[in-house]
Symmetry: C2
Subunit: 202 residues, 2 copies
């Protein structure tokens, strides 16, 4: 018997950027002879391919970091802890043309292994990225980049060598708001694994 469902009515809204949650990351760039290190906050970021691992970040062309990344072809995605939410918000509000964001936030520049852009030491996960393709899309330019290096803060690695994501305390962005990442529900594939277990019991 099909269970009776509550009737859910829909309201039509103007098309807008309501996909959620998305990762509010600190993108660091520059660090070459011509370009001082800079930081920009980006929520229009995502994974776009598994093998090779590829990400994309979208930036308005008028932003200083857009000019830097166009010139250097590389950036680092630094995944911040929720405790840095205020710095994350601030790095998206001001321009690196006017202020040294590393100096102002107190973030420490770390050495990337595969790109010239410095990483942000205080972020538990750092993805070193090399641009493969640039796509102009209306208000934003999308930089599709291969992840060529990953660095992880040792203090978040468990004895078994895994990243302790709960201790990282990640940040999420959803329709104009910053949230903490909440409690774990389960692992990828749990719906099928549990089914298999039940079958074995029979």
């Amino acid at each position: 018997m099909k269970k009776e469902k509550a009737i859910i009515k829909k309201e039509s809204w103007k098309p807008g950027t309501v996909l959620a949650p998305v990762p509010p990351v600190l993108v660091s760039c520059g660090g070459t002879r011509d370009w001082q290190p800079n930081i920009i906050t980006i929520a229009w970021a995502g994974t776009v391919c598994s093998e090779p691992p590829i990400v994309s970040v979208s930036i308005r062309p008028e932003r200083h970091s857009c000019t830097i990344i166009k010139a250097t072809g590389e950036y680092v995605i630094n995944i911040p802890p929720a405790s840095e939410a205020k710095h994350v918000d601030w790095c998206g509000m001001v321009s690196g043309r006017d202020v040294d964001k590393f100096e102002h936030t107190g973030f420490t520049t770390g050495t990337s292994l595969k790109v010239k852009s410095p990483l942000i030491v205080e972020c538990p996960i750092n993805l070193e990225c090399r641009v493969k393709k640039t796509v102009a899309l209306g208000s934003h330019v999308m930089f599709i980049a291969e992840i060529v290096g990953v660095q992880v803060s040792k203090n978040y690695i468990t004895r078994s060598g895994r990243l302790d994501l709960e201790r990282c305390g990640l940040l999420a962005y959803a329709i104009g708001n910053y949230y903490r990442l909440g409690p774990l529900i389960d692992h990828f594939g749990f719906s099928v694994r549990k089914r298999k277990k039940k079958r074995l019991k029979r």
Copy 2:
């Protein structure tokens, strides 16, 4: 005086898809004469442009939904509540070639206003998308699509006409795990707004 910092050491990891959190969404497609409605779970999804609002979803070419979206040029991103985590996981584990996922999950097909693909009524936010550009990238094909319609479940809209995101109870995906979205930290721009208030007090 600069505060003393704890020394954070880094460990280098193999490049991988560790950007987090990302949105584990249900992408519905089909619903034409040639293609039955289908659902696929995608965590490689993101916003890539604000004006016009553009998103991307990446799918392995061998997946049934990849064939459907290539043929129809449209899809709906359905943002699921955490209470549907098991169905979300399951829709990524099985193929629409073998099973009717709407039937199996009990999800209700709703009528989209701008595309032929049905939306999933039980998801509080539905983005109707029309593909603008397809980019082949190693293991995945990226479908860059304009959001041409948005529908929101009325039961999550507050009296002031805003979406009550906390009540939606969204789901997040981070490095192989599903999480609930946690508590609100603050709104976009809070770092600058608070600064302004303090200045006014002086």
